[in-house]
Every structure is written in C-alpha cells, then in structure tokens.
C-alpha cells in the first residue's frame, strides 16, 4: 500500500519528465510533431475539464478561443512586427475579454442554453475569421515569426515541442492548484446545484464566469503556441468541428479528471491520425470514415463508460487526498458572539404569498442565544417556506426578519450567510466526490479572503488554506467525525452525512444554526448522537432553530416550540405547554369530541 502511494505520486512526475526528454532521444520527427499537437490539445482540454467536467458547464466553443489567441498574435506579429510575447499578452487580453462578455451573457441562464449558445458563437467567430479582409479571409495569415527568448529562437519543431510541453505542465499544475483551493472547492460544488454553495456564501454566477474566463485563456495560450508552431493560421482549426473534438477528448479521457484531459487529448489525436490513414486504405474509397467511427465510438463509450477512461487507471493507483489538514495552524478570526439569553433572531409578521395562496401568514417568533427552538406543524403547515424565508432562498412578501437587531429580510442567502447564520439542508447537499474534510471546509468559505485564480494557481494562499483546513478538522472532531476526514463524503451513512452538514455549518463561525429536518431518516442511535451534539452546542451558547417532524426528538431537545398550521402560528411555548395545548392537539389529532 505504502509503495503504491509512493508510486502514484512519483509516476506522473516520471511520465512528464520522460515526455519532456523525448526530443533529446532519437525520436522520429513525425512523433515529435504529433506529440506537439497532443500538447496543444491538452492545454485546451485542461480548461475544458475544469469547465465541463468539474463545474458542469458545457462548451463547444473552446476552439474559437484558440482562434482568438492564434489570430491576435498572428496579426500583431505580421502587421506590426511586434514580439510574439506581446502577442501572447494581447491574445490573453482578447480571449479574456471575449470570454468575460460571453460569460456574462450566458452564465446566468440555466444549463442547456450554454452549450447551444457556445455552438452559435463558435460558428460566429469562425465566420468572422473567414470573412475579415484584415485577417486574410479563408486563406488566413502566413509568415508568422518564431518565438524567441533571451536570444534563443524556438524555430525547430523540437524546440517548440519542449516549449509546448513546458506550458502543458505549468497549465496542469495551475489547474490542480486552483481546484485544490477555497475557490476551487466552490467550483467543484457547482455541478450539484446553486443552493448549497450560495448558502455557504459563494457567488456562483461570478465563479462560473471566472472558470469560463480561465478555460478560455488556457485555450488562448494554446492558440498562441499553435500560431508560432505552424507559422500560419487559417479559420479551419478554429471551427465548430474542433470545438466538438475538444469536448470528445474530455469525455473520453474522463470529464471530471485533470489527468483525463491529457489522456483524452493523446488518444483522440493519435486515433484520429491513424484512422485517417488506414481506414480509407482498408475500405477503399476516400471518405470521412473517421467521423463515422468517432461518432459511433463516442455513443458506445457513453453507454458503457460514461465516466471516461481515467477512473480505470486511477483505480490502480490509490493516491493520497490532495487536501490534508495540518497538525497545527493559527486559528481563523472569529466574529463576536451574543451573550446567552440575548434575542438573536426576531421574526415579526412574516408573510409569504404565492399569487393568491398565503403560505406563511404573518408569523412572529424569536430565538435567543443559548436555546434550541423548534418549528413544528403538520405537513403543509408552511414550516419549510418559513425556513426558506429566513435563509433567503425565497423572498419575503411582507414583514420583518431581524438578525441581531438588523433586518435581513430581502437579502440573498449569500448575504445572510455572511451575517453569521448557517444552515443545513432537508435533503443532504454535499459534494459526494470531495473528502469529508473538504466538504466541511466549504463552510469556512467566507472566512477566507485569498482565493483569486492567480494566488490559488501559484499556491500563495497556502497559509490561509492551512488555517481553513485546520478549522474544518477541528469542527469535524468536535462533532465526532474526526476519524473520517479523508473519506469521500458520498461514502458516509446518511446519519453521518447530516452530522457533516452541521460541521460544515459550524465552520462558518455562526451564532445561529438553522437545521431543516436534521433527524429525518436517522436511526435511533444516530438521533441520540445528534441530540447530544446539539445539547453540547447549546451549552456553548449557540442558538439553534430546527424544523422537525419527529416529536420525541423535538420534545426532549428544545426549550421553546412554535407550532404552525395552514401558514399561521397556532401556538408557542415550552414543550410541556405545547403537549397539552388544545389548538395543537386539534391540529395533530383532530377535534376532541
């Protein structure tokens, strides 16, 4: 086992060094050229893995970004004789700006528009390249100079090969570092919906745009290298067909895996090359056979292995989790906490109407620090709607919600999270593939401040990262999950997952916990453990509001209960008072005869 882990950390380094060393061995030029292209494709595919595989945003338009990068440097270096390095800078600016514009328009709308619109703008840019006189129309631009660095000119294919693969390695490291950061964790959560990351304080719309721009800029770099490798550009390799090919690489390699990008790029490039060569000679006539084979292979592939190939390889090399909590780290800053007994949440005549239906009818109650309050009621009483009003998932129609004396009515979940309210979900919302530790660390999102793409890529955020992970570990130990830090969250039992959600909430340093049916689906012992945990938190001064169906659980745990029926509050008091309250008995058991 130990050997295997050493092997799995060393293997990629050895493989990459070997790839870099190839030109110095006597490898035929054909292979050097082919592998240069694999490198170029890999850079684009890396961005696409992040975009499509990790964040779940599909783009057919990456080839167009490659085109912007390639055309910018081609135009500047041939028309104005500028240095290719300026071309790189300008190309990055151009792709970044184009992506920002397109992203701002398309990222806000739901899933399936994005792929369609990427097809559309992929085509638009292709037609633009092909019709502008200044870009040489469909003939393109030729005579692009070679890149030079400190007097060394990258004119030979072998030199370009080394440059390209160096960029691939840098891109690989940058993407891995990024995904393994505070912002990266938020990106990894995007695929599973917006509600959870937003509740952790993540601006999902903005993060999507960031990822999109990042992926586009990687494509732009690939285009820059392409232009100076080929010394000529024309619109064809930036058309939709290539956009589709990039996606194909990612799917075949394994959409969710960084190394899958390299694997997929290699396979598709090699396969494409050989199919193009020997299919016609096998089948006689000249035709586009490789498209047919690719197409059918792709469909079969998805039917039988829709995770791609990389998971099969990964299974042979059990690796270490990338994010490990340090032994010791300085604590993160904490907010001031209210004194026990102070009113922390005050709801006054909160109302929610859906058209003519009044789901929550002028409900008022309050929660104090150091107490556990319960919100109960029969099905359809409006408990969940009330919960959504408090957490900012639904907007309030009228009334007041004050948190520590300040109004939070009308704020988004993100803003509410930043005030110090944390929540769990009725249906557990974890990122199943991420470790328990990283899932908990999501909760501390708002307590970190560094997480910009650049600082993450260069690992300048290490100190803060350690603080966040240490805090996550501390909270997991506090709730009793300290033994399970590095397991995937998806492998936990439901009860443990609910506890993990509470640990995640605790990581945000809250003064009020909102728990949506925390005991639902738990076994008896699990309920006992949860109950003990909540009592412990109460003793530490935490305020807890829980929506719950399990009467035993609520009665033995809470200090204060609010009962709702048909959208209105019908009773409020201690558990003992509620148990004998006539209106409550009527609501739950029907009228007394």
């Amino acid at each position: 086992m130990k050997n295997k882990i050493v092997l799995s950390t060393l293997a990629p380094v050895v493989v990459l060094l070997l790839v870099l060393a190839l030109p110095f061995l006597s490898v035929p030029p054909f292979w050097i050229t082919l592998l240069s292209y694999v490198g170029l494709y890999s850079i684009v595919a890396l961005g696409l893995v992040m975009l499509t595989g990790v964040a779940g945003l599909i783009s057919f338009g990456q080839a167009a970004f490659v085109g912007i990068g390639a055309y910018t440097t081609a135009y500047l270096s041939t028309q104005f004789g500028l240095s290719p390095w300026l071309g790189l800078l300008a190309g990055l600016c151009m792709t970044g700006m184009a992506a920002l514009l397109i992203g701002a328009v398309t990222m806000r709308i739901s899933g399936h528009y994005l792929p369609l619109s990427t097809i559309a703008w992929g085509l638009s840019l292709y037609f633009l390249f092909g019709n502008l006189d200044s870009l040489g129309r469909y003939d393109g631009i030729g005579g692009i100079p070679a890149i030079s660095l400190f007097g060394f000119v990258f004119s030979s294919d072998r030199a370009m090969y080394v440059l390209i693969w160096s960029v691939v390695i840098l891109a690989l490291i940058s993407v891995m570092n990024f995904l393994n950061s505070r912002t990266g964790r938020a990106v990894r959560a995007l695929k599973f919906g917006h509600v959870m990351p937003e509740a952790m304080g993540v601006n999902t719309a903005w993060i999507k745009i960031v990822v999109f721009v990042y992926a586009a800029m990687l494509a732009g770099v690939s285009g820059w290298l392409y232009a100076h490798l080929q010394h000529a550009v024309n619109p064809t390799p930036f058309g939709l067909k290539y956009g589709i090919d990039y996606l194909l690489m990612v799917v075949v390699g394994g959409a969710g895996y960084v190394w899958g990008a390299l694997l997929g790029a290699g396979l598709i490039a090699l396969l494409g090359n050989f199919l193009q060569e020997w299919l016609p000679s096998l089948l006689g006539a000249s035709g586009n056979y490789e498209a047919i084979v690719f197409g059918i292979a792709l469909v079969l592939f998805l039917q039988y292995a829709n995770e791609g190939l990389w998971p099969f390889i990964q299974a042979r090399f059990p690796g270490q989790p990338a994010a490990r909590a340090p032994e010791q780290a300085p604590p993160l800053a904490q907010k001031s906490k209210p004194a026990v007994g102070e009113v922390i949440l005050e709801v006054r005549e909160a109302r929610k109407q859906f058209g003519g239906l009044v789901a929550v009818n002028d409900v008022s109650f309050s929660v104090k620090a150091g107490e556990i309050a319960g919100l109960i009621g029969p099905n359809g009483a409006g408990k969940s709607t009330t919960f959504h009003l408090l957490t900012g998932v639904l907007s309030i129609t009228s009334g007041q919600v004050n948190y520590r004396g300040k109004s939070i009515a009308g704020l988004s979940s993100r803003q509410i999270a930043s005030r110090g309210m944390a929540r769990s979900f009725q249906h557990v919302r974890l990122v199943p593939g991420m470790s328990v530790l990283e899932n908990a660390a999501m909760g501390a999102y708002l307590r970190g401040h560094q997480g910009g793409v650049l600082t993450s890529m260069l690992r300048l955020n290490r100190k803060e990262e350690n603080q966040i992970l240490f805090e996550a570990k501390r909270q997991l130990e506090r709730v009793g999950l300290g033994e399970l830090l590095y397991l995937p969250a998806g492998s936990l039992a439901l009860g443990q997952q609910r506890i993990l959600e509470i640990a995640r909430a605790l990581c945000s340093d809250p003064a009020l916990l909102l728990l949506d049916e925390p005991a639902a689906g738990l076994r008896y012992q699990e309920k006992q453990a949860l109950s003990e945990l909540l009592k412990k938190l109460r003793a530490e001064g935490m305020a807890v509001l829980l929506v719950e169906h399990d009467m035993d659980f609520v009665m033995q745990l809470t200090d204060h209960i609010v009962v709702m029926e048909f959208g209105s509050k019908i009773a409020e008091g201690t558990p003992a008072q509620i148990q004998v309250h006539p209106a409550v008995l009527e609501a739950y058991l029907g009228g007394a005869q």
Partner: protein, 348 residues
Amino acid sequence: MDASIFAVLVQDGITTGAIYALLSLALVLVFSVTRVILLPQGEFVAFGALTLAAIQSGHAPQTALLLLALGVATLCCELVSNLRRSPGKLLGLLPKLASKYLLFPLALYLLTLNLPLQDLPMLLQIALALAIVVPMGPMVYRLAYQPLAHASILVLLIVSLGVHLAMVGLGLLMFGPEGSNTLPFTDAQWAIGEMTISAQSLIVIATVMALIVAIYFYFGRSLSGKALRATAVNRLGARLVGIGTNEAGKLAFTLSAAIGALCGILIAPFTIINYESGFLIALKGFVGAIFGGLASYPIAAAGALGVGLIESFSSFWASSFKDLIVFTVIIPVLLWRSLGSNHIDEEA
C-alpha cells in the same frame, strides 16, 4: 432598396423562416419529451432532401440501405434486451419486431431497386423519400439514446454529437460531397403590382401552416399527443400512469425525423443541399427555439420566422456575413432571456 426588392426579401425570409419554425418546433418537442438536444435533426433534413434528389435523378437512394442496416441493428438490440428480460415473450414479439425492423426496410430497399423512380409522380417520390428517412428517427433513438434515457442532459448532448458526427460521415459516404437541388413543385407565379409571388413559396408556407395546425390538434386532441405532453411535463408522473418513457421517446423522434425530412424536401428546391448543410439549417431552427426558451412553441416559431427574415435581409446587405449575423443574434436574445429569467434553482 426599392419596394420590389424589399418584397422579394420578405417573401424569401418568410419562406425559409417558416421552415426554421417547423424545425424549431421539432427541437422543442424532442427536448421537452426526452431532454435530448437533437443536433442530428439537421441530418434528417439533409437525408430527406438528398434522398428525394436521388430518386428524382433515377438513382436508388443509398439511404434505403442505411435504413436496412439500422433496422438490423435495432432488431439485434431488441432481441438481446428481450432475451434478457423475458425470453418467454420473445416468440410472440418476434413477428412484430421482424416486420418492423427487417421486412419493412427490406421491402423498401427492393422497391427502390426495382421501381422506375424517375417516372413516378412527384407526390409518390416524396412519400417514398419520407418512408425511407422517417423510420430512422425511432431507430436512432433505440440504438443511441434509449440505453441512456436517464442520463444527464450533458451526456445526452454528447450522444447527440456522436450521432451527428456519424450521420454526417454516412451522409458523405452515401451522397458524395456534391450538393443537389430537387425539382420545384411548380413553376407558377403571380404578379401583384410590382410584386411577384411564387407558387412555390406559397406551397411551402401553406404546408408549414397546415403542419403546425396538425401538430396543434395532435397535442390537444389525440391520446398519444397528450401522452407526449404528459411526459414533457413530468416524466416520472407519466410513467406512473402507464406512459412509457421509451415509447414517448420513440414517438418524439419519429415526429422530429418526419418534420426534419419534410423540411429538407421543402427547402431543397430553393437551396442547394449537400451532406453537411442540414446542420446549419437546423442550428437556425435552434436559434428560433432559444427565443422560446426551448419550452414555448409559439414564441419559438415566431423567433424562427425572425431568423429567416434577418438572414434574408443580411444576405442582401452583407452576404458573406450572413451566417455571422444570424448566429450573433443569439447573444442579445440570450441576454434578454437571462434578464427575464428569475432563476429558480432545484427544489427552492
């Protein structure tokens, strides 16, 4: 630009726009029923047009052979899955399956080899072309999509890509790289003042309108139409009342293949169609469908009409930028939709 040019452009725009509208309806239909974004819709357009062109020039269309191959593959698929599930019932099912997937394509194939294709009346030629292309719809669904019916939209979209790639490749193999026109339905045209109205355009518009009315009644009045709508609204609910997802999927694909092939037949007298031009045509239908948010049929149709008009006018003013303009229109449309959407996420 004078009034007569304007009139010609409007007429052109409405004619092609009507065809895009029909395509956008098919795309919305397939998406809402199966969650498949049907990129290969365009291939049905090209297959329809090129099959008719082959028939009119007296060649046996190769698509008949493709249909036979697809039929055999589908039959194998069905046999294997039935063998696994309920081997007992297989014997009873066999005649039905064999006639649907083997005998029918075989009969069509033999017909195309032996009929005097060139001399048939045009309506028969069209019927033959449709009979060859339309059954491919459900077969493609059975082979490519049905095993993944519960996968995510992303996976289904990539399947669509694969099917699209394969079908374009097959199109090149069957029809060669050259494009073809089909014969016009009629040469008649009338002059009203300075305007000339071609009977051809009127036929296209009338056909599209008749089809839209037929689709409207199909969804509003017939049981299978209502079943499709039910599946579109709630797949699980529809299954619980006995509407199979697979049957609904096959039906949706049949309709969309039929609409696609018909669009190809309608557009081929105006525009030269080659093996890959279906894709761009269908994409313009997509642009229309996006206007309607992939959900609303009337807005999708109106949007598609708009796309036709924009295309026709931009081909007059800036012909080489025609496609660029049409596909850039999508950006403001998306912006408009994104401002209008109130972003309700999951269970919220």
